[in-house]
Point group: C2
Chain length 191, copies 2
DNA sequence: TACGTTTGCCTAATGGTCTTAGGCAAATTA
DNA sequence: TAATTTGCCTAAGACCATTAGGCAAACGTA
């Protein structure tokens, strides 16, 4: 039989490109069909429906993002690794804004568990091994870093930092310095 | 003449309720008309179009959120104020998930400037006055706090923290402790 | 109270969306 | 070469956003 799946993958990849061009929210079967030069109905042999299309783009983005982050921290530790890791996220967001938005698409529990999502937590944990955190605090730190990276990039891309001095660039490095300092001096739990 | 505007406000308020019920993304003219028991076309005398409807809900949410945060920090300082402020955001997000999502709706620059958005930065700045940050670092700290609050709540509501120990509740207080500690020991800029 | 205006809804119509069903020619496999 | 699969198509149903034009009730005013 002729190979199946290959075509679907090409469709999803085109969807990811489209997301970067017009925004993830605007990616719809009709818009994607237009880009591909085919009729909308024809897409439904490759993708179950609009939600399925978005889910597949999200999975692709999560995978790509994990690959970039993984390459960034290889061979580094401490503040060096922290900066490389954080910049991997931020750079990806600026180079591929649509894909980055896709990576934040709400997946149902089962899909999320099978995605590259867990890889991201594992990498963050690996990053923290360069700091000597009490074991119980490690998860808290993972969650903090995830929150900061996601939150900062989202606000930055929304333009929240572009209408006042100092530059977002400057804040970003200062914040990474601050996080590095915090991780080296994590306060003892009060409980 | 009969008062104008009042009806539009009631429509927007209903839109905000609807957002909390079915999610901000799903709030559409047709859905809102259904909730109000009127025909979809009738909405267009109160609201310019779908985007305008969402914008107005976003403005309402930003205002409400600023009011809550403002009340929370009144008469407090230091770690006490930090916790109250942060909890105001998080509690609002859980009580009004749709409105909270609305508060993150991308507004165009002019609308954003006229919204309660700037009030949020000013409040965060007020909060930081309880810590002795070098003046140049204050903006960085404002941006860090905004990133953490937004990022944490978003990840938490997406369920990212609910499939592993420890509880999100615990991480939240530990992270607030860590931020408090960081603000009291903000590293000197290396540049 | 009576009159003109405004309001808040309506129906009708246009053009776009998502999705399913069924068909057909070309490419692939055996 | 014959059978199968693929990738597209057209057609059709249901829903959505938006505009235009109309009508009755509520309102402010004289």
């Amino acid at each position: 039989m002729a190979r199946a799946g290959l075509a679907a993958e090409r469709v999803v990849r085109a969807g990811a490109e489209l997301a970067d061009e017009i925004g993830f929210e605007q990616v719809t079967p009709s818009e994607l069909a237009r880009k591909l030069g085919i009729k909308t109905a024809s897409l439904y042999s490759h993708v179950k429906n609009a939600h399925d299309l978005k889910t597949r783009i999200a999975l692709l983005a999560l995978e790509e993002l994990a690959d970039q982050a993984s390459a960034a921290i290889a061979g580094r530790a401490g503040r060096d690794a922290l900066g490389a890791f954080a910049n991997a996220y931020r750079d990806y967001a600026f180079q591929h804004p649509g894909r980055f938005a896709a990576a934040r698409f709400r997946l149902d529990a089962a899909t999320a568990a099978a995605s590259a999502g867990p890889r991201h937590s594992r990498m963050t944990r690996a990053l923290l091994r360069g700091y000597d955190l009490p074991e119980l605090q490690e998860t808290h730190a993972v969650r903090l870093l995830g929150s900061v990276f996601n939150g900062y990039v989202e606000l930055e891309m929304a333009g929240s930092f572009s209408h006042s001095a100092p530059s977002s660039e400057e804040s970003w490095t200062e914040i990474l310095d601050a996080l590095d300092s915090l991780l080296r001096n994590w306060p003892a739990s009060s409980s």
